[in-house]
């Protein structure tokens, strides 16, 4: 049984840790016409040391939800485990799968008692909400919190269908933030990843273009950020579920990039007037 540690935020004496915990990362997720892409590097750094060069920062929760983790390695691993357990329990108790928004809310409320403590968790939930049949919706309409009781059921069911199904990207962190969006990048390498993504991301990208954009963004971030590096993990979530691409070593990508640049420089030299 996973025991959630009791929150000791009320304790006045805090013990100073004699060792550094693993931190530092680049993870990103974005939505496009073909679903959700989640990408992350694989380096876990503890202080100045690379504690592990091959960590899994993207974990599947169920067939249609993966979560990218950033922050302290142990915290992310354990909280993902707790989340998987709670989602499974919900599914067994209520005979239906919890929506991505519900999952994010559950996670956010579970992390709330630890606000102000050392727990450092920043998760991006990337998933696909299945289309619920209207009968199911009418049963559960009473429990949805963002509907006012005075609105008619027909309008509610239409809006719920639109907002409940399809690709979803929600960012949850241990500070208490819970944000839904189309593009998120988390970690020490995120500014570099945002630069690349903001430049080229469009809704109409094809699957191959989206994957190569995600890989490029992680590659540029690992190039500039010391705490990100090694390999890149890529997950693609669609209505059929998540699919994982084979882990790629970014060292190869770097050499290919250098070769390309080498060729470009040669062309420039040829055009110089004599």
């Amino acid at each position: 049984m996973t025991q959630i540690p009791s929150s000791q935020a009320s304790q006045s004496v805090s013990v100073r840790r004699p060792f550094p915990l693993s931190h530092g990362t680049t993870t990103l997720g974005f939505i496009f016409q073909g679903g959700v892409i989640a990408a992350a590097d694989t380096r876990a750094s503890a202080g100045g040391l690379v504690a592990c060069p091959a960590v899994h920062k993207i974990t599947p929760i169920h067939s249609h939800l993966v979560v990218t983790s950033s922050g302290s390695g142990a915290d992310c691993m354990l909280w993902e485990r707790i989340l998987i357990r709670e989602i499974r329990l919900y599914q067994l108790r209520h005979k239906r799968r919890l929506s991505i928004r519900g999952t994010a809310k559950l996670l956010s409320f579970m992390l709330h008692p630890f606000k102000g403590t050392d727990v450092c968790v920043a998760l991006t939930l990337c998933g696909w909400d299945k289309d619920d049949s209207v009968e199911n919706l009418e049963e559960t309409l009473g429990t949805t919190d963002d509907c006012s009781p005075s609105v008619s059921k027909d309008v509610l069911s239409k809006t719920n269908l639109q907002c409940c199904s399809g690709p979803k990207l929600i960012y949850v962190c241990s500070d208490g933030a819970r944000l839904q969006g189309d593009i998120f990048s988390v970690g020490s390498g995120s500014p570099y990843a945002y630069g690349v993504l903001d430049g080229s991301l469009r809704w109409s990208l094809s699957k191959e273009e989206a994957i190569s954009l995600a890989r490029e963004a992680v590659f540029r971030a690992t190039h500039r950020d010391a705490y990100s590096g090694n390999n890149v993990d890529l997950f693609h979530v669609t209505a059929e579920g998540w699919k994982q691409r084979q882990r790629e070593d970014l060292k190869e990508e770097y050499y290919r990039d250098m070769e390309k640049k080498g060729k470009k420089i040669d062309l420039k030299m040829q055009k110089l007037p004599k």
Binding site: M1, T2, Q3, P5, Q8, Q11, S14, V15, R16, R17, P18, F19, L21, S22, A44, A46, L49, A51, C52, A54, V55, S72, G73, A74, D75, C76, M77, L78, T117, D118, V119
Partner: protein
Amino acid sequence: MLSAQNFGESGKMKEYHYTGPVEHRFSPYAFNGGTVLAVAGEDFAIVASDTRLSEGYSIHSRDSPKCYKLTDTTVIGCSGFHGDCLTLTKIIDARLKMYKHSNNKTMTSGAIAAMLSTILYSRRFFPYYVYNIIGGLDEQGKGAVYSFDPVGSYQRDTYKAGGSASAMLQPLLDNQIGFKNMEGVEHVPLSKDKAVQLVKDVFISAAERDVYTGDALRICIITKEGIQEQNIPLRKD
């Protein structure tokens, strides 16, 4: 010690700054040194540790090995704060017995690893200052190594070094066992004898350069026949 900081720009020595009394808070932790290493092969696993127990500039004991036998197929190596190592191994032993009594079977290496992760995380806000590495055989009989950080994050590896000399040993293992950063080498699978020899060589190097590692080396070789122990002397200085 006289360093460049004590001299100002003109070359004259700076005034001696009196910073005032410094209050030292009681720290519940101590660092007792020691290095642990584990390697997983096709049908064997090796867990090795040095046997020096030190604190500050003193050596408490030259015969305090850091490998603890958990089951017939699993050995754990714990280095860091010796008090926490002892308590942690006692807790793991108790939980192993409880599992055996309720489920009528011995815990597998993977299950022990998952359990240790939760035990460590239950003390997230006052951690066990222990670097753990579990070595053993999995259900298929293949070698398995699980490495942990002090708060419970863990991962299955092929090889891992932990403890005071880990930063020195890990790159060497990456090169010799993982064939990293080498071009045009044939990836030969590691045999048991070669692995044992490599472990001995690697610890001899660690004892040369790390003050907290030395005295003797205890190697536990885990195969389906059982656990075999070897003791090799190391530098005592």
